[in-house]
């Protein structure tokens, strides 16, 4: 099943298969969690600088919700021990999550994700005027032409002052 989700995320499932799998993901909390974690892994691999999931905050929050043990002074040491044990458990579980996450990447899925990570990004290179004919040939068949009408053809002629 995990393999299937990974294949789905790579966009390699057939339409009907993807549809039924998405349905199952929507209704099964286990699958839904897998789905989320896979996306998180993908995000980490692609953009490690922009991860919003703050694990430590969640751990802290859970710790705060733990019941406070009110007990006589004699048990102070035990209490300390308990706090220590709790935080150790939290750290362990954090390590566990990371380990578990890495175990979840099946050997087949891993290369694909690694590949995505290496995608070169066309950040600032503007399409050269000599490529305009490709844009125009593409625009003819793009649904945006039907939606925006001729306005989307502006893409094929847009110019920049630095273009010659």
């Amino acid at each position: 099943m995990k393999q299937e989700i990974s294949v789905l995320m790579d966009g390699e499932l057939f339409e009907d298969e993807a549809g039924s799998l998405l349905n199952r993901i929507e209704h099964g909390s286990e699958l839904h969690r897998d789905w989320e974690i896979y996306h998180l892994i993908g995000d980490v691999l692609r953009q490690p600088d922009h991860i919003h999931s703050d694990l430590s905050a969640k751990v802290r929050e859970r710790m705060r919700d733990e019941p406070t043990v009110l007990a006589p002074r004699v048990h102070a040491v035990k209490q300390k021990m308990r706090t220590f044990a709790l935080s150790a458990a939290a750290s362990l579980s954090a390590v566990g999550v990371v380990a578990w996450m890495s175990m979840q990447i099946s050997p087949e899925a891993a290369p694909n994700m690694a590949m995505q990570q290496n995608v070169a990004r066309p950040v600032n290179v503007k399409i050269q005027p000599k490529s305009n004919d490709y844009l125009m040939a593409h625009q003819e068949f793009s649904p945006s032409t039907d939606m925006n009408g001729g306005a989307s053809y502006i893409r094929t002629v847009s110019y920049r002052p630095d273009e010659k």
Partner: protein, 349 residues
């Protein structure tokens, strides 16, 4: 009720202006009104975003309008004028840039003319013989679109002085952009369109700043003149040998994102190319990816490269004896995924 009322107004306006095409316009305007009415009826109960796509496409093809819009991309803003009229022999559309060097594009019947070096030149367009319309999409394909994008009406907003309905199409994966459209509530025309990235940033945006719908619109350029106003007529290229032919090239893509289907595969001429070029087009309904495969003619300055303009990304690379170019209004990672899975599976024909 509002809709029917404005359709009637629209009709009256049309009758005054052009008696020749009253009947055609009456039918289309009435149909448009019906479509809108249908959309409005179910607006209360369920998301009807996908129905708007048909309305927009229909109105765009069947309405006379003229206006000025801005195109915003890559931290740039460009202003252009667009004029669209429906004549007995079909639609005419003119797009003129208002900033920088003069650019002009005229479209009629699927044919495209561009102003190149102050002369109108016909491009090698293929659409006339192929023909494809959003309005013709069967309902099952529309519902399929809803498995890829989640459509949501996000409220009434004002654009260019008109009230519009805003609709957001949020993709269910990260392999495509989100699209947001603002549709004029009365005419069904698209007044604004944004393409959004996965952090909700605007990748590119069109928006009308001024728009005239119906009424008297300049038609002096229709089928007659070049940009300088000389009555040279739109030059028609010799038809022979120019059209593309549908083929089965044997090139296949293994890792298409979900929902992308092959819509065209043709062998077509392209300006400035000695040999015909294979073009394969895949679409998910809102965006498209084209793959061009041609013999490597050693003209290329660089063997490999990325470039982009607004939502459109382009990647080309020489592989063996072929130059392969992928173009599409999808994120770079999607284009790369497609490019990496292109291979030749052997000629089938």
């Amino acid at each position: 009720m509002v809709v029917l009322h404005t359709s009637a107004l629209f009709l009256t306006g049309q009758m005054k202006n052009n008696t020749q095409k009253i009947s055609a316009m009456r039918v289309s305007a009435a149909f448009c009104g019906l479509l809108l009415a249908a959309v409005n009826v179910c607006a209360g109960e369920q998301p009807v975003g996908l129905g708007w796509l048909k309305v927009v496409a229909f109105a765009g093809h069947n309405t006379d309008y003229s206006g000025i819009f801005v195109y915003q991309y890559d931290n740039r803003v460009e202003t252009s004028r667009i004029t669209h009229v429906v004549e007995p022999d079909g639609e005419y559309e003119k797009l003129e840039s208002l900033d920088g060097p003069r650019h002009e594009i005229i479209r009629h019947h699927g044919q495209v003319w561009c102003c190149i070096n102050h002369k109108m030149v016909q491009m090698d367009s293929q659409h006339q013989q192929m023909g494809s319309r959003f309005t013709d999409l069967p309902p099952e394909q529309l519902s399929e679109l809803s498995t890829i994008y989640q459509a949501k009406e996000t409220g009434i907003e004002r654009v260019a002085g008109y009230n519009t309905q805003a609709i957001l199409f949020q993709p269910r994966d990260r392999l495509r952009y989100a699209h947001k459209i603002w549709v004029h509530a009365d005419s069904g025309l698209l007044l604004k369109a944004s393409v959004l990235g996965d952090k909700n940033q605007v990748v590119e945006q069109y928006a009308f700043t001024q728009l005239q719908i119906g009424g008297s619109i300049d038609r002096s350029w229709v089928g007659a003149k070049d940009s300088a106003g000389h009555g040279a007529g739109l030059p028609v290229s010799p038809v022979t040998g120019r059209g593309g032919t549908a083929i089965n090239s044997g090139w296949v893509v293994d890792a298409l994102p979900a929902g992308f289907k092959k819509t065209w595969e043709i062998l077509r001429p392209m300006r400035g190319k000695h040999a015909p070029v294979i073009q394969i087009v895949f679409s998910d309904g809102l965006s498209a990816i084209s793959i061009f495969i041609e013999p490597n003619d050693e003209d290329e300055d660089d063997a490999e490269g990325w470039s982009s303009r607004g939502a459109v990304n382009l990647y080309h690379k020489i592989m063996g004896n072929q130059l392969i170019t992928v173009v599409g209004e999808v994120p770079p990672r999607t284009l790369m995924q497609v490019f990496n899975s292109i291979h030749y599976s052997g000629a089938i024909d």
